[in-house]
Every structure is written in structure tokens, then in C-alpha cells.
Symmetry: C2
Subunit: 132 residues, 2 copies
DNA sequence: ATGCTAAATTAGCCTAGGCTAACAAAAATT
DNA sequence: AATTTTTGTTAGCCTAGGCTAATTTAGCAT
């Protein structure tokens, strides 16, 4: 379907994914706290994501990602991880790198992302000198 | 005063600055065209910037930056230039670098910007041996 | 000078994405 | 089991930042 999400919806999707990966139930309250917004904002966002077929939710229960939502969330998270480690490599502190990565992940073009990826790669684990 | 501008207002301010630097009169029409928005949107933005004391405008005439607006616009533009050349150095094409810089310029923390600056600098003119 | 065109403004609509307040359901405590 | 607390939902407000349509002004050409 390739629905282009807003930054805000991307954030919600990503957060749901992170919570689920930690084995937690992604409850409205948790999402709200994690993103520093209020519960009704989360409810609205979830309604949107449901309409887009990216998540499912039984009333008054936790949120689950659909296959498609899973894929999309994973891609966002990958961008986040890439960007954070990139910034860290430039010497930016963990905390700030995380915050800035969080903004950048929504806006950078595929080309820029791929160049950043290339920049990060070349430091491969050193050509294993002997020793197994 | 240190008013924190929205991304959108930063864009308007920056564009006005660019037009003025090219010696052009920054007319509503020009700004609208340059930013791909309609004139009424520009009018609204200018009204805001006026309230903030960043620009002046006689009714039905071109827009001028105030001292403060000038300073702020220059800082935005500097960020833009820094980021664009940074991306270019990473191998991103001119066009995309420009577009992505345009987004990044509004969101990156001071820390990240300074680290990027450091990354770009190291090409200093070689440590003048001797000589004063 | 008059009238036409282009530019600027104003009024008012729309959407996204926050919020609060009020209510409903579920969970936990007693 | 009843009550309280927590969580979820709904209704409805607000703002920023776009837009269109309608009006006003300015700048030219005739």
C-alpha cells in the first residue's frame, strides 16, 4: 500500500513496535507516557493507524502491529538506529544523538540515508588477523 | 529576545534573506513562488514575523529584515550551508543535499551542529610551521 | 486620466495533532 | 461484592499552517 505516514504517526508506530519488542503490552497509557503526550492523542493516532491497516486493537486492550505495520515500523526503527549510531560516531552524546535521530528519521531522503549507511559500513571488524 | 521560530517561519525568514541578498525586492509573490505556497500563506507568515519584530513591511511593498531578523536569518542560512556541504561530502547529490539540508536545518541540536562543523573543519590550512 | 492586469490583502475554510473535561470500563483493594 | 483507582474513550476546543474566493491597491498602457 505504501502509505506515506506523517512524522507523528511514524513516531507512534515506532513506539508501539519498541514496546512490543520489549515484550510489553502496548497500552495507550504506555505509549502516551513514552511519547510525552496525553492519552486522547494516542487514541486518535491509533484510530488513524487502524484505518490504515497498520495496527489492530480490541477496545480497551493493547495494540498489535499488523504484518504491514510491522514492516513499516521496523524500517523506521532501522533508520533511527542508523542515524543514532552515525551521530554518535560524529561525537554527539548518546542522549542528543537519540533525540536528533528521532527527528531525522522522518525527513531524510533515501539517497542521504544510503550515503550515511555507506559512511558507516567501511569500518568493518578489521580483517581478522589469523586467530580464528 | 531569542524567539524560537517554527520550521515554517524559519523557512520564510530564510527565503526573504536569500532574496534580499540577491539584491531582489522580497515581494509576497516572489516568496510564495520560491517556497511553493500561495500568497495568502505568505501574508500570514509575514504578519507573524512582523509581530515578532523580525521583518518590516509597508503595506503593498517589499519585505525587509530587521537587525534581529537579519541575525536570525543568517544563522539559519549558515546551518543550511553547513548541512548541505556536509551531505555533499558524504556523496549526496547537490539537489537532494539541498532539500535534506532544508529539513535538517530546523531540527538539529546545537551539539550535533557543532560536531558536524568539527567534522567539516579538520581540513585546516596546515599548522603553519614557525612563522610568528 | 482611465482602465486593465498583476500583486497584496482579507475573510473564512480545512486538516493534523495536540489538549481538557466528562464519561465508561476494567482492575485492584478492601 | 463493593468501592476506588486506573485506564480507555469520546466530545469538543485550540493552534499552526496551508488553501480558495473575493476584494483592494498599485502599476502600467493606452
Amino acid at each position: 500500500m505504501e502509505t506515506k505516514l506523517s512524522q507523528s504517526l511514524e513516531d507512534y508506530l515506532e513506539m508501539i513496535h519498541m514496546l512490543r519488542m520489549e515484550g510489553k503490552v502496548a497500552r495507550v497509557k504506555d505509549i502516551a507516557d513514552a511519547l510525552s503526550v496525553k492519552m486522547p492523542s494516542v487514541a486518535k493516532a491509533i484510530a488513524e493507524l487502524k484505518k490504515l491497516g497498520l495496527v489492530t486493537q480490541e477496545p480497551y486492550a493493547g495494540v498489535e502491529l499488523t504484518k504491514e505495520g510491522e514492516v513499516m515500523a521496523a524500517s523506521i526503527l532501522n533508520r533511527h538506529i542508523l542515524l543514532k549510531s552515525f551521530l554518535t560516531r560524529l561525537g554527539v552524546s548518546e542522549e542528543v544523538a537519540d533525540k536528533d535521530a528521532c527527528c531525522m528519521e522522518h525527513i531524510l531522503s533515501a539517497e542521504t540515508l544510503s550515503k550515511i549507511e555507506s559512511f558507516m559500513k567501511p569500518v568493518r571488524p578489521a580483517p581478522k588477523r589469523r586467530k580464528r
